[in-house]
């Protein structure tokens, strides 16, 4: 065996200079990470920017539209931050997740009393993640998912943003047609114009739902975007595209992995609320 080991080492004794540029590699990954959030960000910002003009925001002192810090205010302490990126939380579905039929305020502070959600962020991450996993399993039964932010965690996990009461999740969905990406953002807002959506409806519970399906992207990119604004002020935006989180330039399947109906079913899940 020594002979084989020696032969293998001889075969790679004098390699040519490497073409790997570590600086470029790190910079590229940094940009890729930014792009991953860009897709979800665009969806939310597009809607929010429309709503800013007419928004009637009843955020607490120091918070602006959608819970983002205002120019002059100070942030409200919503409890300790959740686990850092990379730490997994339990994603077991909760019995009250998708099976809930109402939006009654529970442990959180309802918006009518004038505040942002008071649920600790770590608890919110665990609860929202469990609800999302249950909703995805129910709505997309033939799809396997991989969390794009926490690829080594079981199931999908929400990530708390630096801003209070803003959570996002991103996962790759794979079925027989290939792999694509789904991004969700949850935050709280009292009113937003849904005019930017081609199709809109108001549900019996008062939720406003808007959605777009766009197949005019460059290179065959298909995009499905949905927003749900609940009466309690929870605003859920979901985006599905036929690309992956790692590469936004390559089309990975003919259509987006989730249809508008599936995204609406997920985003409108009563458990995805900031006021449990």
């Amino acid at each position: 065996m020594e002979h084989l080991s020696e032969a293998l080492r001889t075969a790679v004794a004098d390699p040519p200079p490497t073409g790997i540029n570590l600086d470029r590699l790190i910079l590229g990954e940094r940009r890729a990470r930014q792009r991953r959030w860009f897709a979800g960000g665009v969806a939310a910002v597009a809607v929010l920017s429309t709503g800013v003009v007419t928004a009637v925001v009843r955020a607490p002192a120091g918070l602006g539209v959608g819970g983002l810090p205002s120019a002059t205010g100070t942030k409200t302490d919503l409890g300790p931050p959740a686990d850092p990126v990379g730490a997994c939380v339990a994603v077991r579905p909760t019995p009250t997740g998708s099976a809930r039929t109402d939006d009654k305020p529970g442990g959180g502070q309802p918006p009518e009393s004038g505040g942002a959600p008071t649920e600790p962020r770590a608890a919110a991450v665990t609860r929202l993640s469990a609800t999302l996993n249950a909703a995805v399993r129910l709505t997309m039964p033939n799809v396997s998912v991989t969390d794009d932010i926490h690829p080594d965690c079981e199931g999908i996990q929400f990530e708390p943003d630096v801003y209070p009461a803003l959570y996002y999740a991103s996962f790759e969905a794979r079925d027989m047609h290939g792999v694509g990406i789904v991004v969700l953002m949850i935050h709280h807002i009292q009113f937003v114009a849904m005019d930017s959506y081609g199709q809109r409806e108001t549900r019996p519970d008062g939720s406003q739902v808007g959605w777009n399906q766009d197949g005019s992207g460059s290179g065959g990119m298909q995009s499905t975007q949905v927003s749900v604004l609940r009466p309690d002020g929870t605003f859920v935006t979901a985006l599905s595209q036929n690309i992956t989180g790692a590469n936004y330039d390559v089309i990975t399947r003919p259509t987006a992995p989730a249809t508008a109906e599936q995204l609406i079913a997920i985003a409108a899940d009563p458990g995805l609320t900031l006021y449990p």
């Binding site: 065996m1 080991s5 293998l8 075969a11 790679v12 390699p15 490497t18 570590l22 990470r33 990379g86």
Partner: protein
Amino acid sequence: VSADEAAYREYVTHRIDGLRRTAFLLCGDWHTADDLVSGALVKLLRHWRRVSTMESPDAYVRRMLLTGWLDERRRPWRRERATAVPPDVEARSEDPTDRMHILALLAELPPRRRAVLVLRYFCDLSVVETAEALGCTEGTVKSQTARALESLRARLTAVPAMED
């Protein structure tokens, strides 16, 4: 530069040479080897905070490298195609110490058998470590090793019989 990034840079600087050599033995081409190592390093960077706390980050990187290569082999444009005229191939040297000779022999092996040989006889991994890197059982590693060496023996008398 954050502490994480500095640690990542230091780790990569010390390991990149070995990773390139391993990748080259797997794929037989330095450009592809650099691509494979780049892919593994990007994944490592993405999960550095967690991987750096592991007992053996090397095992993680090695596995990323192998997975990347095996995935690459499965891509449609990598599959063998029938052609009307046999393609020109480089004449194989008969000198067993010739580097082209050993590389040509490796290239004739199926991917996983080649990986087993590279991991065991170039990276000096044990059967257990090889099984972990390839995500298979120890029995599979042993059988793949035996078959790979058998294939080599059929072509190269200089390779001694496998020691059980």
